[in-house]
Symmetry: C2
Subunit: 638 residues, 2 copies
Amino acid sequence: MGEQITLSNDAGALFHVPQAEFRRLLDLPLAPPERAALFADLCRLNTLYMITRAGSGHIGSSFSSLDIVSWLHLCVLRPGHDLYFSSKGHDAPGLYAVLTALGALPFEKIHGLRRLGGLPGHPDVAIPGMVANTGSLGMGISKAKGMAEADRVAGRPPRRLFVLTGDGELQEGQVWESLVSAANRHSDGIVAIVDHNKLQSDTFVRRVSDLGDLEAKFRAFGWSVMRADGHDIPAVAAALDALLALPGPRVLIADTVKGRGVSFMEHTALRPEQEFYRFHSGAPSRPDYARATQELADRINGRLAAAGAAPLALEVETVPATAAPPGVRLIPAYTEALLDAAERHPHLVALDADLILDTGLIPFRDRFPDRFIECGIAEQDMVSQASGMALAGLLPVVHSFACFLTARPNEQIYNACSEGKRIVFVGSLAGLLPAGPGHSHQSVRDLAAMGAMPGLTMVEPSCPAAVGPLLRWCLEAAPAASYLRLVSIPCDVPFALPDGWTPEPGRGTVLRPGRDGAVIAYGPVMLTEAWHALDRLEREHGLRLSLIDLPWLNRVDPDWLAETLTGMPLAVSIDNHFRIGGQGDRIAEALAARSGSPPLLRFCVDRLPDCGRNDEVLKAHGLDRDSLAAGILARLRP
Amino acid sequence: MGEQITLSNDAGALFHVPQAEFRRLLDLPLAPPERAALFADLCRLNTLYMITRAGSGHIGSSFSSLDIVSWLHLCVLRPGHDLYFSSKGHDAPGLYAVLTALGALPFEKIHGLRRLGGLPGHPDVAIPGMVANTGSLGMGISKAKGMAEADRVAGRPPRRLFVLTGDGELQEGQVWESLVSAANRHSDGIVAIVDHNKLQSDTFVRRVSDLGDLEAKFRAFGWSVMRADGHDIPAVAAALDALLALPGPRVLIADTVKGRGVSFMEHTALRPEQEFYRFHSGAPSRPDYARATQELADRINGRLAAAGAAPLALEVETVPATAAPPGVRLIPAYTEALLDAAERHPHLVALDADLILDTGLIPFRDRFPDRFIECGIAEQDMVSQASGMALAGLLPVVHSFACFLTARPNEQIYNACSEGKRIVFVGSLAGLLPAGPGHSHQSVRDLAAMGAMPGLTMVEPSCPAAVGPLLRWCLEAAPAASYLRLVSIPCDVPFALPDGWTPEPGRGTVLRPGRDGAVIAYGPVMLTEAWHALDRLEREHGLRLSLIDLPWLNRVDPDWLAETLTGMPLAVSIDNHFRIGGQGDRIAEALAARSGSPPLLRFCVDRLPDCGRNDEVLKAHGLDRDSLAAGILARLRP
């Protein structure tokens, strides 16, 4: 064991390995596998730093992959001849740590994970060293095939393309779709590496949707397969060497430990009664951070001492932990509403795609285990199963994040809607915020993707009190399928719906009266910003605009709208969504159909969403209260 | 050999087996497999009748599956206890023949294939005996799993669920996605049958995207597998019996012949130099029809004679063959434009998903074989490959039918757009027509699904002369990705663009002038209907409206629009698409933003598209010239 150092006890202290230390340690006279293992631990320290500072990120997958990623970058990849990228993408912090350490990415970027202009939560090609946009699962091998074809067409020497996938990710059909032609085309350059860390988002892969004999599956698809302990670097090196000598597309199944490198973060530390792994996403608590950093630093210093080198010199900064943001949350209200509905509807079933924690389904599963269907990361299969269930008399409620639910199984949803049965699609994590995960997860295109499903009605509750009535409407009154769109972040909602509020299709509720214009919006994020914008306009400019909660996202009652806007000089629509397909389109259509309507001013997302802190991103897109107030004022008092 | 009959030589004569003859023949004292083989041939006769009368349909797959489907319906399925449906769905005519013969579907329906109120081109649950909407590939096993779960949740005895799939269909990732949980849940009730007829839409499966060792693949996914000659009914029976005794989900790989039952329609009759199979879709020529019917009738009568039974009494009707509709086609213009572009752009590559015939790519493939990538029925993989190619410097042009291209890989397209590279998505078979295949193929939701892709521009040419300039704009001027939407049916276009027309983003071209209102539309189908509607309004009512071709589907220049509409009492928008997401939404937005705009009257698809003859369906949706004229007149002269 090496020299013990004790890290500062300062509650706000965050430590990172400076680049000079990486250079020093890479120059130590160590065998390459030893050097890579040491380097991986240094990167773990910086990964932990980045994620803790950002307040969110994926530790578990970064840590499980870091030994492999370090080995690849130190000893396998030939610059200009090989490419590496991660298909799962949420292991980005680990990769950023490697690239900043090696100077492939400006070092100071490590201070800006999930910040505007910093390093996005999932890979984006705008960042040096990022080869492809990933984070939506299952696309990596297809992308690598396209890159291999490009080399061939351009007449370049073929590169070797190393693609890391998750194991839960293998539940996506696209992965198997992508394997077939790689084998038929003898894509020699592609090496897939499965980071088989045994856990997916919620819990163990084998509990969610067991992969069975993974080696047999890949072999049956015509791929050469090797298997190795992904933390035994000499074994990884030998397996890669052996694989590279085999023909055709190749896969290394690397058995890894999620959270590897910090004892209490390793999934193998889960006790038998613990179902859920705590370090998949989110940030560690500050005490957990301090323990983990200490453990890593101790191990590193032990290795350094054994090599006769001076201990690690960490840099420290004081970054106070941010308190949990205030506000109410819709997901717990949804959980309650769903339980209540399930009591009333014995044929209600809930389907999930490996997001049971985030979609609020744990109490449902525990109370109605026979009516809960865990589908794994297999959204297409989930939706078509729901269609079969609905045809056979059940009332399916289908859950995922809005970004995935509305896009991956888009054709399956259309097919289900064409059958005319009642199915409720529930998309959480909807809208521009949270902005930390980046555009693969920011769902600002879901209304466009879902709006024209025949017979489907889209609704979004503005506050917890609206969740139950809207879910009930979807389950009991909707003409056919429906889409319940849920914001997942806490919101400090300043308004309230009237007691006993019930949904009236196509009609909204006035949250505050006014005569100088009417602002129509939906959901807690934008209604809250709008409320404060109108406060300011009233306080500072004497302008009183009404604020209307219109929870119907693809239908507007034109008579209600005309009546509501009578005498108003301006209508304002605010979308937590792209312009195209947003609620503003429906308002515009109703206004355009009649002569003499007031003009419509729209606020909405107009480009690929930025990644960053929520306040930064809201402002960058002109959707914060200040921008709204300024935009409305400029129109009313030009 | 039995008694020879000679069918009428009348060029318009179509023959069908009446229901009484089915009853007679089912009562013959034959062994069950012999009876099923005879029944299958009778059904082949009626399938041929239906498709020839309809003018389109899928003979090859109906014939390859009919021996199996007949055996199942005569000797395996227990009413109320078992369900059968086809996942591929385009074998519907064969199944309709079986169900009408058995009285499960009103017999007179055989006269209404692909007609309004008749039998749709692909299965729809509104039709008796149709268990699920299929025709979009790859969903069947998922749906069966949902039905099995429904039996469990409802506490019903589990049904046996027989699902037929194609072999080309197995290229869809959803199939493999769906296999995993079936194995994990020990879904004993599910029996998949692969109609392994060796050909997919265009040509041989092994040429498009070889499936490799299919048995090994299913086994690796935990399924029990049997294999049999799908035309040897005793072998099929034995294999099904053996399978049903095995645990877990089960699959029968049935080796079949596409077009089985008519010698010159069997794929095995293809000569080595023949690449394409002629009887996948479409209707046979009348001489081919007569030959095929004669061959089937001869074989049937031979069997009847051997059984000592009277020969077949066919009913005959005279239905003259409809001439090929007049008009111009966009696809040949597209082929030329693409070839021209490929000469100019050495990095242009074309990707296809098993629709090389329909998307007009054969000349491209023949001239640029190294730049043509056949992806098989694997749209997700195709799009992510294109994304990899674009990242690596190629200029990918991605092809499929609009209905599939914009929906199945919807998330992959978003991901590709997020990378900001230039990729051209080309969707043919766009819009409400042709209406014969039914709603799985009628693409009236593609603009909604694509409109909010960040940076993506959508365009649609109105006539052959517009195809080249718009493709060139997409390839050379578009800011990033684009979507080129192509109508596939021939149109008798009455208008012309000015010589040397070039696209101006967001701006339209006046095809005919007028002052009583402005009609804005796109594409040859609706511009042609609108032209004739305006002709009538002018001729019969003295109203002169202008007609504007606006090829930009998700952007409108608001200044151009305001100027164009100056002094107009009415704006009219016509969408070959659903209301939501159509071009009308963009026009409405531009109009709603300004005070004093004329009111907007919209024509569009407002419900799930009807299946039928093109003229029937256009009228049923109020989009034919008469309905347009009446609607505009009612607004201008209320």
